[in-house]
């Protein structure tokens, strides 16, 4: 087990079975976010903040499109049942402690997006010697870079003045979401010989 992709193939590319597993997870996570941003996006924008919803929707879609095309896919039977647990985890769950259901659902979406954008660093799996111009490696760098920018919208919402009365509920919901996403990510990686650092609040 290593904390990086590998052993690399003869062209210093990421092995196809590792590409498949990692891309499948990322497509599931970002695809779910894209769908939920699409549902939340009105045909006619009525508030300035909704411009960010539009951006989030298209960038999540771009990530999915990019990974579909940049990945060298091979059959991975395990992905079938793993994907079921991934997709279940992305279901909306209103955050406890916020009575307004639409706000509770918005916070839930933001915590999930924060966990995916902040907690998943696919480019950090690339070893230093990976071929720099490999499309999959480049795609992972782009996913990680875009994630850190998309994250800003979640940070602004979750730290923002509207949620100050619900700060404890938000902080604990976010910690739970991070732990949940990290667990799924860790399991996905471990199946292809990659070990991700665990945290103290991760359940074994």
């Amino acid at each position: 087990m290593s904390e990086f992709f590998g052993p690399l193939d003869s062209d210093n590319g990421v092995p196809a079975h590792q590409q498949t597993r990692v891309a499948a997870f990322l497509i599931s996570a970002h695809g779910a976010l894209a769908r939920q941003f699409a549902f939340a996006l009105p045909m006619k924008l009525e508030s300035a903040w909704q411009t960010e919803l539009n951006a989030q929707f298209y960038r999540e879609s771009e990530i999915v499109s990019l990974l579909l095309r940049a990945t060298t896919w091979v059959p991975d039977l395990t992905v079938g049942y793993m994907a079921a647990s991934w997709e279940t985890a992305w279901f909306p769950r209103p955050v406890d402690g916020i009575a307004d259901q639409s706000l509770a659902l918005a916070v839930d979406l933001a915590t999930r997006a924060h966990a995916v954008h902040a907690g998943i660093r696919p480019a950090a799996l690339l070893p230093a010697e990976v071929y720099a111009h490999d499309p999959f490696a480049m795609a992972l760098r782009r996913v990680e870079f875009e994630s850190s920018r998309l994250l800003q919208a979640q940070i602004m919402l979750l730290k923002g003045p509207n949620l100050v009365p619900f700060r404890d509920a938000v902080v604990s919901a976010l910690a739970r979401r991070h732990a949940e996403v990290r667990k799924l990510w860790t399991e996905a990686l471990e199946g292809v010989g990659i070990t991700a650092p665990r945290r103290s609040d991760d359940k074994p």
Partner: protein, 340 residues
């Protein structure tokens, strides 16, 4: 010349770890990684050296991690000190709170670590953000300390530092950790350090990029959003204090250290020649020697703060010389000091 060896050591250290493809938790193979618990968070620390010796506790700067003090660990243990290092919340192998990190929590984490050290004398040093956390600790728990060493430090956020800090934060938000590193590198170290590594900067930056997460760095930076100047409380720091400031530090320039010198009663300001903001990285042998000499002087009763201003030697073991009498140490040109 001091800089040459230190530069080579640090560069080789970074490149060696990068080429081995090691992440932080594997940097010290075979050594257990102890943690302290603060609420729901874990703080990773390391404690080495003789159990009965006086202890140096060293606090990281914003984008640093505990391994960057390795040269100090070795040098100070050789001088019979125990050395404690740790990753602040949001750094390295310590937990990274998802949304908020308060500076009070960082002080609490530091208190926990110092609580592990028994009753022996404790000297506390910190660089930049870590220096600020050390100052906060000294204000609240100064009686536990035998000495304090704030390095490249500040007690206030005057407009230049505030705007630089804001720009660094915006840069990181727009360009990620790598861009933040690009902005910090030329502020932190000299041309002499940078020149031989210009063609391998990606390798130099890689470990810091791997270890640091954007959201965690952002939380650390945003712990300044409600920052209140510490200046009014500096006079409560009663312990001997050696303030270290790089000659060419333009991120936290001399005037910020002057606030500390004037505010802390038993202090001296020591200017490190030809040094920038991160002189702890660029000149570890000299800085470790200064730390050891300061603590030895304090323990032997030789330390006299007197708010004096000194110039450090170029090399470890060299003589500290007083800043020339009558000249203004806040100026970059030799201007006679005016009395006010």
């Amino acid at each position: 010349m001091l800089g040459g060896d230190a530069v080579l050591d640090l560069t080789q250290w970074i490149l060696r770890h990068v080429s081995e493809g090691m992440k932080i938790k594997n940097l010290l193979p075979g050594r257990p990684m102890p943690f302290l618990t603060h609420g729901s968070y874990r703080i990773r620390y390391e404690l080495d050296g003789p159990e009965r010796g006086p202890t140096y506790v060293l606090v990281n700067g914003l984008t640093q991690y505990a391994e960057l003090w390795d040269a100090y660990r070795n040098a100070l243990i050789a001088r019979h000190f125990r050395v404690a290092t740790f990753d602040l919340l949001g750094q390295g192998a310590s937990d990274k709170p998802e949304l908020f990190i308060s500076q009070d929590d960082q002080v609490a984490a530091l208190s926990l670590l110092i609580g592990e050290l028994g009753d022996g004398p404790v000297f506390l040093g910190g660089i930049s953000f870590g220096g600020l956390i050390a100052l906060r600790y000294a204000i609240v728990h100064g009686k536990r300390l035998a000495g304090l060493v704030p390095m490249s430090c500040f007690a206030e956020l005057p407009p230049q530092l505030l705007l630089i800090g804001n720009a660094l934060r915006t840069g990181m938000i727009l360009g990620g950790t790598s861009y933040l590193q690009d902005l910090l590198l030329p502020m932190n170290v000299s041309d002499q350090w940078l020149k031989p590594v210009l063609d391998k900067l990606d390798s130099v930056k890689r470990q810091g990029w791997l270890v640091n997460d954007v959201f965690a760095l952002q939380n650390l930076m945003e712990s300044f959003l409600d920052f209140q100047p510490l200046t009014p409380q500096l006079s409560s720091i009663g312990v001997p204090t050696m303030i270290l400031n790089g000659e060419f530090d333009f991120l936290t320039p001399r005037a910020l250290h002057e606030t500390l010198r004037l505010g802390i009663p038993s202090s001296s300001l020591v200017i490190i020649p030809n040094a920038y903001h991160a002189f702890t990285l660029e000149k570890p042998a000299l800085t470790a020697d200064l730390l050891a000499r300061f603590a030895e002087d304090v323990l032997a009763g030789r330390w006299r703060g007197n708010k004096a201003v000194w110039i450090a030697p170029e090399d470890p073991g060299g003589e500290l010389v007083p800043f020339p009498a009558g000249y203004d140490h806040l100026r970059a040109i030799p201007v006679q000091r005016t009395t006010s």
